[in-house]
């Protein structure tokens, strides 16, 4: 029977409860936190994280982890900025960074799917070289990109910028793709049983590559939003975006082992991380305490979720044993 209180959803309910606990706790300590304005700010600031986490869901469900988005977001922004500065054309800049993101995603995908390289290691290399190039091209200085893009991304209707509807539309789209299309079904198949998927005639290489290209596109989109919001390209942008995205996906309940998960869970994870980050920073904590609390919260939630899953698995096993005993008893009767 599939109900919302099904034991498979207990870890998600636990995370939702922890999100509420975090909100209440932060409100008690700092009553001015979380009014309409902070909520709007949280959504606007975490739009890029949500978009990358959406794509990361595809990566992790297919059993690959992509460490490239943070550094690549910075490099894409820098490329947009450099081309804009030298040619005066924003469109050309965005086109150049889009090409960079798609080609980099394609290259990683091909290396992983056709040469069998480990995705973490391939994208770790990207993480290192992309940040190096972003810093090298600019000497660490930001590039001003004050264009129509900024007025578009920062234009607000009732306090909400374009980021909120964009994230909603993207997640709805991602949910449709994962649950209703062949690409989605194959994404689960690749992660659940890669060998079986290949034997079933799925073109594993092509679909795996496609998932890395999706991440490239999402990174470019997030980069464009960041450049628009800041009216500049920052080589130090998004220092640990990929890690926050991975945490959001996993803490939402998608397994690192692949084959399971959903973007709805990821959205819950993004909400938790966003509220944790905003609340902790709002307490006026130094970077040091912020890090310790964030790490402890992450490890604590992960541990309890694992425990809940183990208990659920144990429950299933007991019930099956009981049913088997019952069946045997009937057989003897």
């Amino acid at each position: 029977m599939r109900t919302a209180l099904d034991r498979r959803y207990r870890d998600a309910w636990f995370l939702a409860a922890m999100t509420v606990v975090a909100v209440v706790a932060f409100r008690i300590v700092e009553p001015s936190w979380l009014n309409r304005h902070t909520l709007q700010a949280i959504i606007t600031q975490n739009g890029p994280l949500a978009i990358v986490a959406m794509a990361m869901t595809f990566s992790i469900v297919s059993r690959h982890i992509d460490l490239s988005p943070g550094a690549m977001l910075a490099l894409a922004g820098v490329v947009t900025g450099l081309v804009y500065r030298d040619t005066g054309s924003l469109a050309l800049g965005l086109l150049a960074s889009l090409a960079l993101c798609l080609v980099s995603g394609l290259a990683s995908g091909l290396l992983v799917s056709f040469l069998g390289l480990n995705a973490i290691m391939v994208t770790l290399a990207t993480y290192i070289w992309a940040r190096g190039l972003a810093l090298g091209f600019t000497n660490g200085d930001p590039i001003v990109v004050d264009t129509r893009l900024t007025s578009i991304t920062n234009h607000s209707v009732g306090g909400f910028t374009i980021v909120a509807p964009l994230v909603v539309v993207l997640f709805a789209l991602a949910w449709l793709v994962l649950s209703q299309t062949r690409f989605g079904r194959y994404t689960y198949a690749l992660g659940g049983d890669p060998v079986g998927a290949r034997r079933a005639g799925i073109r594993v290489g092509a679909y795996t590559t496609g998932i890395f290209v999706v991440m490239g596109f999402a990174t470019w989109l997030a980069s464009t939003i960041v450049v628009g919001q800041l009216a500049s390209a920052q080589p130090y942008a998004a220092p640990s975006l990929e890690l926050d995205a991975i945490i959001a996906v996993i803490i939402g309940g998608t397994r690192l082992a692949g084959g399971e998960g959903s973007v709805a869970r990821t959205l819950l994870g993004v909400a938790f991380i966003s509220i944790l980050n905003s609340g902790l920073l709002n307490l006026g904590l130094t970077d040091a305490y912020y890090q310790v609390y964030k790490g402890a919260a992450l490890l604590g939630v992960l541990s309890v979720q694992l425990l809940l899953r183990r208990l659920a698995a144990e429950e299933v096993r007991r019930r099956q044993e009981a049913e088997q005993l019952l069946a045997e008893a009937h057989g003897y009767a």
Binding site: L124, G132, L133, N139, G140, L243, I247, Y290, Y293, L299
Partner: protein, 329 residues
């Protein structure tokens, strides 16, 4: 029938040993070629002082990479190494400089603190069952944060002469003490991996966890011990870094985990699976990375582009691993 464990049946077949030797020779050849080409294109590169400098420069990463290698061998991954090196150096520096403790207490405290983070990594991964990449990401935050808390958003200038002596005291061939410490640690680790039960258990668990468990190995305990030892190596690396820099600040050891992973991979550790690779070859990997970095600095290439090139080198190492190794296994 009892399992026959006489050496004749345990020793690897000749072909495998030959492949092992060819691989080691390959990495050595790369190191030699780089040494030759760098020496020919840059005058000061082959100076004895410069080569000794490279050894000093790779010491901290090299020692931390021993721990990372053990963790990779057992099929894990440790992202907390950089933060843990900082944590160890902060505790040691704080004890010696601010609390006025004797040097040996400071070092013991620093190494114990880092080993504690390693122990936490082991418990989180082996007992609770969190994937290593996530568990060590959490402890990366915790260790880095704790280090900054102890630092009080400041820095510590460590004046105890012991640490400066690590660089100043020359032992043999004008090599500073800290380099000798690194060589000694590699020698101990290399021998321990071959002759102790613990060392061979790491290979067994990394190579085939299920078989190792069925054969009766206490996998959980060995994994916890491995992560703890890796933490201790990070602590030792932290103490050596005090000697190298003379100052402990929160910017130290940033990104060191990636350098350690790169060194282990260039040294020939298998990326996709645990149980393959040799600790001492990680030293060769660290030496290759050190030479390349040093050469670029001599040539005046800015650090940011050096980082970009390091990413490219890492990619090459992974490609080489795939092309030369997996074919035969």
């Amino acid at each position: 029938m009892a399992l026959d464990l006489t050496p004749a049946t345990v020793a690897p077949p000749l072909r495998e040993r030959a492949r092992d030797a060819a691989e080691a020779f390959g990495t050595l050849a790369v190191a030699g070629l780089l040494l030759l080409s760098f020496g020919l294109t840059s005058g000061p590169f082959l100076d004895g002082t410069n080569l000794r400098n490279i050894l000093v420069q790779i010491t901290v990463v090299g020692v931390a990479a021993i721990g990372e290698t053990l963790v990779l061998l057992i099929g894990g991954l440790d992202l907390s190494v950089g933060a843990n090196v900082l944590f160890g150096s902060v505790i040691a520096g704080d004890l010696v400089q601010r609390q006025g403790a004797p040097v040996w207490v400071g070092i013991l405290g620093g190494v114990a603190a880092s080993a504690g983070i390693g122990l936490l990594n082991g418990i989180l991964t082996a007992v609770i069952g969190i994937e290593p990449i996530l568990a060590t990401l959490g402890t990366f935050l915790v260790a880095g944060g704790l280090a900054k808390i102890v630092l009080h958003s400041s820095w510590i200038v460590v004046e105890a002469p012991f640490f400066a002596d690590l660089v100043r005291t020359h032992v043999v061939w004008d090599l500073p003490l800290m380099v000798i410490v690194m060589f000694a640690l590699y020698a101990i680790a290399a021998v321990a991996m071959r002759v102790t039960t613990f060392g061979r258990s790491i290979y067994a668990i990394g190579g085939n966890p299920r078989a190792a468990r069925l054969a009766g190995l206490a996998a959980t305990r060995i994994k916890i011990l491995t992560f703890t030892i890796a933490g201790a190596f990070a602590g030792i690396a932290g103490c050596l870094q005090i000697g190298q820099l003379g100052i402990v600040s929160s910017g130290n050891a940033v990104g060191l985990e990636f350098q350690a992973i790169t060194a282990a991979l260039i040294g020939g550790l298998s990326v996709s699976a645990g149980g393959v690779g040799r600790v001492e070859r990680t030293l060769l990997g660290a030496w290759i990375v050190g030479m390349i970095t040093n050469y670029q600095t001599i040539r005046g290439i800015p650090p940011n582009y050096q980082q970009a090139l390091l990413g490219g080198i890492l990619l090459l190492a992974i490609l080489a691993d795939r092309l030369f190794r997996t074919r035969t296994t």
